[in-house]
């Protein structure tokens, strides 16, 4: 057992209101430089929708992630042979057209325009060329189902839905949507790291954050193609790839990442998971339907004395094990099993989990009346407006069982709380539901608490970074003192 710690995340989709505060917090800190304008390390997508970059989930087009062939896994389009042959032109790399051309507005014109018969306007100008452009698309162009005949109907997750299900999904006045906030998943088996010819990408041993060494990146661009979530971006100005750094300077100093900190809906949770690094390869080889359980089995119980002992042997500090015991992520993922990894079939072993969203019941009757009463306890999950198949394509590698489990448990907790506070459901019935959903009363209370009443410190249990053990701390303080704090910082630029 090779125990490592990973700063992991849970996004509770039932709480996301799609306000994009997270995206703005991130952009203002990290990606408002030249060449990064188009990047959204954090973005919020409307589902069903095509996402960012357009149809990123369509691996027939982008060929990202791993695939299993003849019992072993390899990168879909970015294995060594193909990277070497295609190093001069990367055939599956998205171009700016798949994202959008960033623009600003010619605000000066509002002040400087000559007097004339019309009001002056601020025309859009490209942030690449500086020329006037005709804006045709941008990030979140399909926000809140805008333009859904073009966008929502092209969601790759609609694969396998029946005609009837699609019809229901897109019937006017019954339209349904939810939001999918996305950042880098800081995977255990990252395709971006594996594909980099320069070895510029790496996973930090101590907390599992995946980073790109800007000094080693040579713009071979394979990480952009390799990441199936399209969360590595190419800085066209500096000629270097960049990605979400999980605000490591904040995490190292005990602060939540900016997108987490600013989340209005309090949907985000962050905490440590201990995992067995020796088993990653084995789990990445499992068949699709076993991937979620396998992935979950990588996560180790921080209360298990054997795990604690192994963690000590592997050099994981006791304080991190302690932090793992309080981790909200551990509860969602391992204890309650209601948080699921996105598109586990890409086999990168993402360490960002989603609690799947509930949705209104279909409520279609022949006489057009709304009828929610049924003998079946969980009828509204099977008949939810978001078809289970759709959620299963997103969070269950196409298999519905794990999604159903998560939704039933959430539903049972709601009914249990309803019995306590509203009283229109009997406690007996609520407990019957809890039992059917594999949930105890204590667990229901805990889920309720961490979902609804959670404080800042309950949502973000940030492990100590132990910077006192870092390499620079081992240097002679006198020498180090002489070599830091004085000199010139140069901003990133293109070439010499």
């Amino acid at each position: 057992m090779n125990v490592r710690s990973q700063v992991s995340m849970v996004f509770h989709l039932d709480k996301c209101i799609g306000c994009h505060t997270c995206s703005i917090a991130c952009k203002n800190i990290w990606t408002d430089r030249k060449g990064t304008d188009y990047m959204w390390w954090n973005n919020v997508e409307t589902k069903p929708g095509t996402g960012f970059p357009t149809r990123w989930e369509d691996q027939e087009k982008y060929k990202g992630g791993w695939e299993k062939k003849n019992g072993s896994i390899s990168l879909k389009s970015t294995d060594k042979k193909r990277i070497i042959l295609n190093i001069f032109h990367n055939p599956h790399m998205p171009s700016m057209d798949d994202y959008y051309e960033p623009w600003t507005y010619d605000y000066q014109n509002l002040f400087n325009a000559k007097e004339g018969p019309d009001q002056p306007v601020a025309l859009p100008i490209s942030k690449v060329t500086g020329d006037h452009i005709n804006v045709e698309s941008g990030p979140n162009w399909d926000d809140d189902l805008g333009g859904s005949p073009i966008y929502a109907e092209n969601d790759p997750n609609l694969k396998g839905l029946t005609e009837q299900q699609r019809e229901h999904l897109f019937a006017i006045e019954r339209l349904v949507m939810f939001y999918l906030p996305r950042i880098c998943n800081h995977c255990l088996n990252p395709a971006c790291v594996a594909s980099c010819p320069s070895g510029a990408l790496y996973k930090r041993g101590e907390d599992g954050i995946v980073l790109i060494d800007q000094k080693k990146c040579r713009a071979w661009r394979s990480c952009v193609s390799a990441c199936p979530y399209k969360k590595t971006y190419f800085n066209w100005f500096t000629g270097k790839s960049e990605k979400c750094i999980l605000c490591f300077p904040r995490v190292e100093t005990g602060q939540a990442p900016a997108c987490f900190h600013s989340c209005v809906g309090r949907i985000r949770y962050l905490g440590v998971l201990l995992y067995d690094a020796d088993r990653i390869e084995e789990v990445a080889h499992l068949p699709d339907e076993e991937l979620i359980d396998g992935h979950r089995s990588l996560v180790l119980d921080p209360n298990d004395p054997q795990v604690v002992e192994a963690a000590r042997r592997s050099g994981v500090h006791d304080s991190i094990v302690e932090s793992a015991r309080n981790s909200p992520v551990y509860k969602f993922v391992k204890e309650w099993r209601i948080a699921l990894p996105p598109h586990i079939e890409y086999r990168t072993m993402p360490m960002l989990y989603y609690v799947p969203p509930m949705s209104p019941v279909m409520s279609e009757r022949n006489d057009k009346t709304v009828d929610n009463v049924s003998d079946s306890l969980f009828h509204d999950i099977e008949q939810a407006r978001i078809p289970l198949k759709f959620l299963a394509n997103l969070f269950g590698a196409g298999h519905e069982a794990k999604v159903v489990y998560a939704l039933r448990k959430q539903k049972a907790v709601r009914w249990y709380r309803r019995a306590l506070t509203v009283g229109d459901v009997t406690l007996d019935e609520a407990k019957r539901m809890l039992a059917a959903a594999d949930c105890t009363v204590e667990e229901a209370e805990a889920i309720y608490r961490l979902t609804s009443l959670c404080t800042f410190d309950e949502r973000f249990v940030i492990p100590p970074s132990h910077r006192e053990e870092a390499i620079e701390m081992m240097e002679d303080p006198h020498e180090r003192r002489q070599s830091t704090g004085f000199g010139f910082l140069a901003g990133p630029r293109r070439g010499l």
């Binding site: 060594k80 101590e206 713009a219």
Partner: protein, 230 residues
Amino acid sequence: MENAQYLDQLLFGVLPYLALATFFLGTIQRYRSQAFTYSSLSSQFLENQRHFWGMVPLHYGILVVLAGHVVAFLFPRQLLAWNGHPVRLYILEISALIFGLLTLVGLLTTLIRRLGYSKIRTVTSTADIVLYLLLLVQVASGVTVAVTHSWGSSWFAASAAPYLWSIVTLDPNISFVLAMPFMVKVHIVNACLVIGFFPFTRLVHILVIPNPYLWRRPQVVRWNRAQDVR
């Protein structure tokens, strides 16, 4: 000595050393002080179609042509022996010309793409333009030589290789070059300019070809601990 002789001495006896000195000092210093600037500065992200028709012929063409030069430089005798058979000579000459033309086509496509697309123009520096012009002269003169002065693979081995060796052994013997046609001289002088200009351009990406990649493990983990516990 007459002025022309001084010029020859300067171009073929001194310039190569200036170029090599600049090359080594420049690239090493740049790598040490500005590692961040070592990048291929790819523009594929901004334009994805023409890029293929420029980059692929240019790179594969130049790789083969350069390899040819290196082989002729390192193994001139073996090359002459190989060329002893006319069929083998023809095959070598024709394939060299094909790859030379491929390079030229790739280079021209790249140049047109560079100047023709406004997005690409914004990421084109003056150094890029100078470099492209130097490369264009280099490749065009090379192809011209290949067309007008046939059997280059043989006479390269017989007279260019000894000249290059004389440069490498610090005993420059320019008499080999003086008798050569004008275009060959242009090719040699321009090569020196390219080598000398190399450290200040995007060409430095050639020096950081991904070598550990082929045998490293897929996943890379970095520890920030003084002592790795593992």
